[in-house]
Amino acid sequence: MLDAFQDFFRAFAADHPAWNFVFFYEERQWGQVISGLWMTIKLSVVCVIFSVIIGIVGAAMQGSNSRVVRGIVNAYIQFFRNTPPFVQLLFFYFALGSFTPTYSPDGWLEIPIISNVGWAIISLSFFAGAFNVEIFRAGVEAVPESTQEASEALGFTRMQTFGYIVLPLALRVSIPSLNNNLVNLVKTTTQAFVIAVPELLYESITIWNDFPSAQNPMMLVLFVAYLSLVGILVMGMNSWERSMRIPGYGV
């Protein structure tokens, strides 16, 4: 069965030189596609989680009484929102990466404690996090002042008010914009390519450098993979939105 499958694509590549689905009959390239896809999924999931946490913490800090705290959050947003993520990745990996300590397992090699994958996660999370802060802030501003006042009058601290009342309401307002930003984040993980993170784009290009005849099939793989990943994310977000719907409430 598997042999017949592999033979079919081997013959197909021979007949159609521009459509060499090499990963369907060569184990090594199949492994590259799978490990690239897995890395992309890992990057996406971890960055989505961190960027949402950064967004929530940032939005909470923007509500602070301290002008210094608000200033720091704003500076962070300006920097990460207004510069290209591509440049940020380069900056984190090459500029900051050169200052981070290294360790040596065998006395010869020097391995930095933060790998290129680590830097990609940090860089992309902060990039998407900057947008998330703004998204959550819009949600926070949609929560009436009077609702927060009622919570204060019941003895809730500012932090409790944010956590129990403001955030759950703000989230519901924020989900549609958050949706957009997280979709963008998943797509932006391809830029980790620039610091040699072996995600799907990196592996695809490696494959078509080895097999130029596999370029078209690899592009097809990329499109199908991202369409599916983003599709799953959006479906998840939509069902989350539905599960948070409040009977009789406008949002």
Binding site: E149, E152, A153, L154, Y249
Partner: protein, 248 residues
């Protein structure tokens, strides 16, 4: 000085409050004894709401002093939680938490703020709902309740903290005439049980019936005050007379 019930539970002395350059309270004084029901009436913008919001430190003051059970409210070292356990507040717009059911709205503060046992709080919350005549609405969300019902949940939510003083800020102003009554009945029950209540209200009939003492404010000062019968039938100040003649 520790407070004893023979002293005013709420004591307001020469309170001044400004929003920017606008002076809203220009030296207000009043004493409220435990178990008393006080109604503050007066035209819009006279500072009534601002005054009662100062009592639980939702607004700060620029001059004078406010004490609750002998404790200065506008002290920087004040434990706001301790104050807000003593003073409950109900708002004009109910301000329920829209993402929580009626029962959860009532339970939230005792569980999260006072760290009380959830099962015990649930029991108390149910009996409070019964008390405000909303049995069977435990699992309704605020958006599914009428204005009057929401307001009664809000009253129950405040009572769940076992306050010593209740503040009511125009709690019937957003309601239609029929539902006004159900809320007023609830407040009347509370007053009858001996709860100290301070109300800002436009319900003159209710004030007359329930209040022990009426304060009339205008332009940031107390123009006149007295027990309801004297106040409504023998008002002395021309400004009070004018106001009453337009309402009654």
């Amino acid at each position: 000085m520790t407070w004893t019930p023979d002293h005013p539970i709420v004591s307001i002395r020469d309170v001044e409050k400004s929003f920017g350059t606008l002076k809203v309270l220009k030296g207000i004084s009043m004493d409220v004894m435990k178990g008393e029901v006080i109604c503050i009436i007066g035209p819009s913008g006279s500072g009534k709401s601002t005054l009662i919001r100062c009592i639980n430190a939702l607004n700060d003051i620029q001059g004078g002093s406010i004490t609750v059970e002998g404790q200065e409210v506008h002290d920087h070292k004040l434990d706001k939680l301790a104050l807000r356990r003593k003073v409950g507040m109900v708002f004009q717009q109910y301000n329920l938490f829209p993402h929580k059911t009626a029962l959860e709205n009532i339970m939230m503060a005792p569980v999260k703020v006072l760290k009380e046992d959830k099962a015990k709080v649930a029991e108390r919350a149910r009996s409070l709902l019964k008390k405000v005549r909303l049995e069977g609405k435990e699992d309704s969300y605020p958006g599914e309740l009428s204005g009057g019902q929401q307001q009664r949940v809000a009253i129950a939510r405040s009572l769940a903290m076992n306050p010593d003083v209740m503040l009511f800020d125009e709690v019937t102003a957003a309601l239609d005439p029929e539902t006004v009554k159900e809320v007023l009945v609830t407040i009347k029950d509370l007053a009858a049980e001996g709860m100290t209540c301070i109300l800002v209200t436009h319900e003159m009939g209710f004030a007359r019936e329930v209040a022990d003492h009426i304060y009339f404010t205008d332009k940031g000062v107390i123009v006149e005050h007295g027990p309801p019968t004297t106040f409504f039938d023998n008002a002395k100040d021309p400004r009070t007379k004018e106001f009453l003649s337009q309402i009654l």
